[in-house]
Symmetry: C2
Subunit: 189 residues, 2 copies
């Protein structure tokens, strides 16, 4: 998606350790017009899939998911991160390892809102190691819900998450695929 | 707002200790059509205020804020909750006490995205004790930004947050004002 790639080149900030900050337009401050174009593109890609629910994870996926849901006319469910060990029985739970923070946390959704028969589009802002996304896919599988696929704004294609998910048979559509960020220059696929 | 009150009566769930759960349509699963009506109403209330930024707090305010921002044609900034003690100098920080969890956490926004000259509409799903909202107002004041007011979906008017903020001169517009929830019956103002 050219508009997103151009915006990343213009306003993305690179830091050592392959860190790309896009917090001026995607995940701290959010440009709603850009989110709308992202949502439209996810709809173009998944409009034939009979998506009836969008699933994301707090916090930075929520904005993109809600704007996207307007095109699918379906509700958004966001999975919650928790460190509480006493989780109620009425939730599906999966464990996610945070590559960035070196910690592990539980991710939950209420069983009430994710069910067999649902056709779920999973939305997130970033895909790198893919642990959070794999967790969301796992929650859907626990619920017996079908995963139409994943809609990702930015994929770091030089990290293994995307390949792992695709190898496992999950459809993943990323609107900006970064092949490398060496020497302060972003190369898109 | 009749639509929201009706939805709370229909799908809200009451629990002991004045707990109202609205997670089937507002803050776990989100009904995007309802969020759109909420956004329209916030725009009707604040359309003459020259709002150029919407501020909310992760996670459950983000969806409402993003949908609302479409009516104002402005970006959304969400404040982040953190327990990290080593906060970079480039953020505004305020301390918020969680009534629900009995803990205290820091809330931050990047100084880059909140500035003198900004006219800010603060959006959140709930207002009860008002600590999170007071924290967001404080962040704006630290930045020298003007607060147009607050747009709240549900206010528990029998708890002190709303009165405290209004007494402090902050405009607060709540779309559903709950006067009492005694005996399993919700009474709106």
């Amino acid at each position: 998606m050219v508009l997103l790639e151009e915006r990343i080149r213009k306003d993305g900030k690179l830091f050592p350790g392959d860190i790309l900050k896009v917090d001026s337009f995607l995940n701290h401050q959010m440009d709603i017009d850009l989110l709308n174009e992202i949502g439209k593109e996810f709809h173009r890609l998944y409009k034939d899939c009979e998506v009836n629910k969008i699933l994301t994870i707090e916090a930075s996926g929520i904005g993109i998911a809600c704007i996207t849901a307007q095109y699918f006319h379906c509700p958004v469910l966001f999975a919650k991160k928790t460190k509480t060990k006493n989780i109620a029985a009425a939730v599906y739970k999966t464990e996610v390892k945070s590559y960035t923070h070196g910690t592990t946390y539980d991710v939950i959704v209420s069983k009430e809102f994710l069910k067999k028969g649902d056709c779920v589009l999973i939305i997130d802002d970033f895909l790198a190691e893919g642990n959070a996304l794999a967790g969301l896919v796992d929650l859907c599988r626990q619920a017996g819900a079908e995963v139409a696929g994943c809609g990702i704004a930015i994929e770091k294609a030089f990290q293994p998450g995307g390949a792992r998910l695709r190898d496992a048979g999950v459809r993943v559509e990323s609107l900006a695929m970064i092949d490398s960020m060496d020497g302060g220059e972003i190369k898109f696929r």
